[in-house]
Amino acid sequence: MSSSTASAPGRGGTSPAPSRPPGSGTRPRATAVKGSRLAFWVFVTPFLVGLVLFTVVPIVWSTGLSFFEARGTLTPTRFVGLGNFAHFLTDDAFTNSLVTFFVYALFIVPVTMAVSLGLAVLVNGLPRFQAFYRSALFLPVACSYVVGSLVWKLALFSGLPSGVANSALGVFGIAPVSWLGSSPYWWIVLVTVRLWLQVGFYMVLFLAGLQRIPPVLYEAAMLDGVSAGFRRFRYITWPQLRPTVAAVLLLLLVAAFQAFDEFINLVPTNPSTRPPLVYLYNVALGAQRDFGLGSAGALILTAIMVVVALLQTKFFGFSAAEDRTKAPRRRRGGVSA
């Protein structure tokens, strides 16, 4: 951070702040200080230029390219109109990838939610050593999906009898399983590695949500005779956690839609376990390097994801971001203090 803080004012230093450009005609406002226009643009321009060059331009270009055939070249070769988009309607591999996402999300989202919320409640109820357990459960978040895949494929779920899963089965006299070799089994590998990697993160979100619940509520419930663990959870904890649940749900859905790393590392050749992003990667940068078709696919997937996010926001309340702006922490803090 020290280097970063030094470079920010460095820009300012080249153009002395107090000497504002002559005749800058900003309308005087209550908080306007001289030099505000110059300062505004100096602060905003670096980000703005990058945003235009690496977000706006690529997307516009890619949209243009999506109407053309462009295999292995950035130069459009033949205008195909909406042909690239129409391709996806008839491409089974694409529809399969959406089905894969749907089934996968239907499983991974509730399971992650339940496990991380359960662990958060468990850890939050510990009278001592909370920090230790929180750290232990949070530690996998530091690992990359590549490292996770490596451990899962080569050690935990290797097809060899010496793998952890197979030796555990061996204790019960069950023959070794080739975990990544066939359908129901590879899902166990894919789901468990993701759970290990992401549960800690969502647990921390839930912990934060739990600790924001005013203790007064529990005290009041106790006076009303609600002290049993489950009823406390049902009538106080769960309703109070609603904003966190909505945020976690959205994050989990988006994360499931963007699943890529562990799929491409664990089951690179199985077309039936191809989530949308892996499918898109194969179309755009696989053997075909079909940039025109890939551009159309990227637009379609982007649109789907934006719609999912918007729908979710509509049905389950505000996204985490909005929730934060609407409910300032200061007010909540005031209640509990």
């Binding site: 280097s3 970063s4 803080t5 470079s7 920010a8 908080t31 200080v33 300062a39 505004f40 602060f43 905003v44 980000f47 703005l48 945003l51 690496f54 977000t55 331009v57 690529p58 997307i59 890619s62 950035l74 468990l122 510990l126 009278p127 929180r134 949070f138 530091a142 690992c143 590549v146 490292v147 895949s149 451990v151 899962w152 080569l154 050690a155 009898p161 010496s162 952890v164 197979n166 290990w196 993160f201 921390v204 912990l207 934060a208 529990y218 106790m222 663990g229 790393d261 590392n265 992003l277 898109l280 990667y281 940068l285 551009s295 696919g297 997937l301 982007t302 996010a309 929730d323 934060r324």
Partner: protein
């Protein structure tokens, strides 16, 4: 200390002996459950260390070996002697540090201006940032690849770093942060004769460090562990291979040096774990404050 205080939401009522016993019983069950899960979560780390130090005989064994018969640490030096691995680590470190630092500086400046410097363009610019925020980064890898290819940056550190420097998400977070930034502090600085840049450097930056540190940890972990973009930019060549792409190449090809591979995986974790352990308190608070992050 705050966690300890918060961990007991219900003040301990003067309980009867029976109640006390029930509470103790519940606690024992709670600790047993959470310890079991924690052990499960830590198991993969143990397996990594175990495999990295296992002699060849253990790895070739037909049965599961819980404890290496004769720990052999040479796998670590073997990995470090192979020139590709240190090179990949260096690339990743440069990428993660520049990306994280750059994202924070650019976003802090833009977010501050949008929140605190009166300008007619601030509103429209913020709206544009929100629109960009909605576009999922994962699906823009192809458009970004096209531009990077056009610029001739494929398989280069520039290609890895530059497109990721502009984080609309961080701008959003910084703007929200600065909206709540106490005005009095800035006004005090103005009374001392500071202009916008002086106020930013002397007053705003020092008071933003804690918030920025939380974002720094999230950004560092995210970019260190990034896989899709490095694979797109540097997957084919060797000029800018990151450690994740390097490790992944052993998963798709066949490898025989298991202990070396797990040693490399462990070494790849060291920088993140260091950042994690040192700044964990901040990270947890930061995750809570920002509501989400780029895990």
């Amino acid at each position: 200390m705050s966690t300890a205080q918060l961990s007991r939401p219900v003040p301990r009522a003067a309980g009867t002996g029976k109640r006390q016993a029930a509470r103790t019983g519940a606690n024992v069950a709670r600790y047993a459950a959470v310890t079991l899960v924690a052990l499960l979560f830590l198991l993969p780390f143990y397996i990594m260390v175990k495999t990295a130090v296992s002699p060849a005989a253990d790895i070739a064994s037909r049965t599961f070996v819980l404890w290496p018969s004769d720990p052999d640490w040479s796998s670590f030096s073997r990995v470090l002697d192979d020139p590709t691995f240190p090179r990949a680590m260096l690339n990743t470190a440069v990428m993660a540090v520049v990306l994280t630092g750059g994202q924070i500086v650019l976003a802090a400046m833009a977010g501050y201006a949008m929140a605190r410097i009166p300008n007619r363009a601030a509103g429209p610019l913020f709206s544009a940032t929100i629109v960009v925020l909605l576009i999922p980064a994962a699906t823009t890898f192809l458009p970004n690849f096209l531009i990077v290819a056009k610029l001739g940056w494929v398989d280069s550190l520039r290609g890895l770093v530059v497109p990721g420097l502009f984080s609309a998400f961080n701008v959003f977070l910084f703007r929200q942060f600065f909206l709540n930034f106490p005005k009095e502090l800035e006004e005090a600085g103005r009374l001392d004769g500071l202009g916008y840049f002086g106020v930013f450097r002397r007053i705003v930056v020092p008071n933003t460090l804690a918030f920025a540190s939380a974002l720094t940890v999230l950004g560092f972990v995210g970019s260190w562990n990034a896989f899709l973009w490095p694979l797109v930019v540097a997957g084919g060549g060797s000029g800018a291979v990151t450690v994740q792409v390097y490790l992944s190449s052993f998963l798709t090809a066949q490898t025989f040096d298991y202990s070396g591979l797990f040693a490399a995986a462990l070494l790849s974790l060291v920088p993140v774990l260091l950042v994690f352990l040192v700044l964990q308190r901040w990270l947890v608070r930061g995750v809570a404050e920002t509501g989400m992050g780029g895990g």
